[in-house]
Symmetry: C2
Subunit: 196 residues, 2 copies
Amino acid sequence: MPATERRELILEAAAKVFGERGYVGATTDAVAREADVSQPYVVRMFGSKAALFEAVLTRSLDRLLAMFRDAAAAFEEERATDPETELALCIGRNYVDLLRDRGILLSLMQAFMLGADPEIGPVARAGWMRVYRCLRDEIGLTSEEVVGILDRGMLINTLVGLRLAADWDDPDVSEMITTAMPQKAGIVRALADERG
Amino acid sequence: MPATERRELILEAAAKVFGERGYVGATTDAVAREADVSQPYVVRMFGSKAALFEAVLTRSLDRLLAMFRDAAAAFEEERATDPETELALCIGRNYVDLLRDRGILLSLMQAFMLGADPEIGPVARAGWMRVYRCLRDEIGLTSEEVVGILDRGMLINTLVGLRLAADWDDPDVSEMITTAMPQKAGIVRALADERG
DNA sequence: GTCTATACCCAGATAGAC
DNA sequence: GTCTATCTGGGTATAGAC
């Protein structure tokens, strides 16, 4: 298999493992197992665990920003037929779609929680501000609108990190998820079911 | 020193370290250093690192719920003189005050991000739902209001985890923090300054 | 109640074969 | 490009003295 393809496979596996266990809790061995290669190969390809994590963050951030741009484009298109449509809703819709690959949002979130780390902190802050500037300058939102998008986003990330949907049977749980993601609760439930 | 006092001292140190580095990244040695005791003593007192983490979570959750109740009481009192006052604002005010001890909110947040862990996950989900039920049943908010409180809370937790205020000089950073916490940006900045 | 010394395990990284 | 074998460091936990 060509190295570029293997690389993408490993990055995807790594995003999942880092997202689930955090930077320190994730082992290169677990990543290797997930990608069906040997542990030394993972280290070899990226140089170190830290470098692998940075590569994962770059990839995740690129995907996230691409999603925002896609959502903005979809919004423009939709507005032609429905002048009542809202950008925030379009973004919310695409955000939940991103959750199909939980590693993308959760690996970023894990990095955000390590701001006190001298190596990861600066990278995480820079990444966060790229998100902020993308929404404000490229998508054209006001700072209030951006914060409104981000805070619901962080709540959703937390619910996903918690695996709260695993307790869907608890009526309080389903009530809270449905309230937080009204348009998309069905998908969340289905994803939780199929993944246990 | 009596054991109960030492215990509280160690719990406070542990909350800080777990909040900064996450469950796996935190070492019992770092906790011990922070509390000025030996590493084996920390393990001895709580039995294991896992048990220590659970004790930290219990303590953090108790503090958080107590804060909500205090805020609700303050709201009732305030409403006597100012009928325009809002509960969400009272809670927001007290929430930021909790940040003086970042360990409380960040250790909880780190647990929330480990929902996939078979040991920590159930504890984290149960803790989260205690928060939800407290706000809904004891404080008397609707589920929409609770979600509105929680999403801004999760954004603030993320900003604190990021140590974003460290980059206050960046005008985009100060704009975003001021937008997210209008009443309290001054305090956040002051805390960031004094702690570097 | 608190320490020092240490056993033991596990994870990241390297060497080197194929 | 990819593996097996292995070195090494560091972190939890235990033993046992004071």
